[in-house]
Symmetry: C2
Subunit: 255 residues, 2 copies
DNA sequence: GAGTGGTCTAGACCACGTA
DNA sequence: ACGTGGTCTAGACCACTCG
């Protein structure tokens, strides 16, 4: 029990009241009261009402659809399984390919792919254990569902390892997966290290993924090692929180 | 190349300018220019300046420390390894205990623990495959480092399974780990399913973890199954993005 | 006391979609 | 044409910390 708040501000009361009504399911489908009408009910100015509403926007609870009004956000995230593939169902032992699983669900999957050769950015360079200025081949992808982007996927490979591969270097889907190609080139991966950070998107990410206010992203960095512990692949994914849930299955190792 | 923006608003220009200067490292340690001085330089009102600054707050880039001014946020997240334990170093094969690893780093680790018996909340009930109203034992923990909370950890067990265990039911640390106790009771876990969602914290989480504006959280749900595929443990963790990075190591399963 | 950010007022004009 | 939210102005008073 906190010792009696120091009189919350008016906009806090407004956002608290609205949050309670939203969580009670009051505005499903219908817009929230307009700014003007809230200003009237709370006998305050529009600016104060807007401050209260903006709290709820930043929490990811509502959005403004001008000039229709404010609406409650609803989300139906897809399941992302970094061990396996994608799907919409709870965990199962299946491991299917991305496009197959998506169309199965009646949604139209598509992607854009760009391939280029660039000096390894610092984050990648460190993980691929390259020298400053060493080149990498990058496959940059945006994956979409029904036209909406839901994930960016940038895969980096040491250029020396893959420059002979038409598959890796061409901006087209690789049905059997890039990892199969790498294995064929003699770089079969064993262990993959997964790193995760979650934060608010920067303007570039906001634009690339068309991200709504109040939506954080997770940045996933995968580093793939061969059995000889040589890093051969570094993937940077950006996953918006309103469109993706992640699921893993892990064998218990500690007592 | 987007087709020439439709004249960005003034506050957008302010936040863009400041973001550029911040990323160039201009304000490390020193405060940003005050609202009043920004209003003067941009020949605008304080309110517009505040709108620009609030953009940067929501992105998690800066914070206001009244009445000293606005400062750039810096973060040094700790490494969370859900397979193993905690640490501050990049991935390694070590698997140590929480308190041991933390004190090793010269930071003071502590925690608060509350134990109670409650009807399983819906999320837990579904994962533990319980009927409505069935009881669970909950161990609710807040873990702190140097007095700052960095993780909440709520572990639920079917009450029938653990009611005989003094260790599980007492609000004290279990040095050998609760999983060892469960194993001793005949409920050794094999597979654990990990679920992850990231979003902005709700007010309760904000208060419990003392979360700063612009900081998202990841909600981690772990469900532990015995070899006979009986769920015996459901853990809900709340991980603030400014204090935690997560690292996993996964054996490659797909080609 | 001076300067900081936090809250709030009472207006104004605009762009946009819907009716 | 109307109502919506988006931007912006020019003030005001307050609580707090620091010198």
């Amino acid at each position: 029990m906190p010792p009696s708040q120091p009189s919350p501000s008016l906009y806090t009361r407004i956002s608290n009241d609205l949050r309670k009504r939203i969580n009670a399911g009051e505005f499903s489908g219908a817009p929230l009261p307009s700014e003007a009408s809230l200003a009237a009910t709370y006998k305050t100015s529009r600016i104060t009402v807007r401050k209260g509403l903006s709290e709820l926007i930043q929490e990811g609870l509502i959005y403004a659809d001008r000039p229709r009004g404010y609406f409650v956000r609803r989300r139906s995230p897809m399941i992302y399984r970094p061990q396996h593939g994608f799907g919409k169902q709870p965990p199962s032992p299946a491991l299917d390919r991305f496009l197959a699983e998506m169309t199965e669900l009646g949604r139209e999957a598509s992607q854009t792919i760009e391939v280029s050769v660039v000096p390894a950015p610092p984050i990648v360079r460190q993980r691929l254990e390259l020298e400053e200025g060493e080149l990498t081949a990058v496959r940059r992808r945006i994956r979409l569902l029904d036209g909406q982007p839901y994930l960016t996927n940038d895969s980096y490979y040491p250029y020396g390892l893959v420059k002979g591969s038409d598959e890796i270097m061409s901006p087209a889907d690789i049905p059997r997966g890039a990892n199969a190609v790498l294995a064929e080139l003699g770089h079969q991966q064993g262990l993959t290290v997964h790193e995760y950070e979650w934060r608010m998107p920067n303007p570039a990410e906001k634009a690339r993924l068309d991200i709504t206010p109040g939506t954080p992203v997770t940045e996933e960095i995968l580093t793939g090692y061969t059995a000889a512990e040589v890093p051969v692949r570094c993937v940077i994914n950006c996953l918006p929180g309103d469109r993706i849930k992640m699921v893993l299955e892990i064998e218990h190792t500690r007592t």
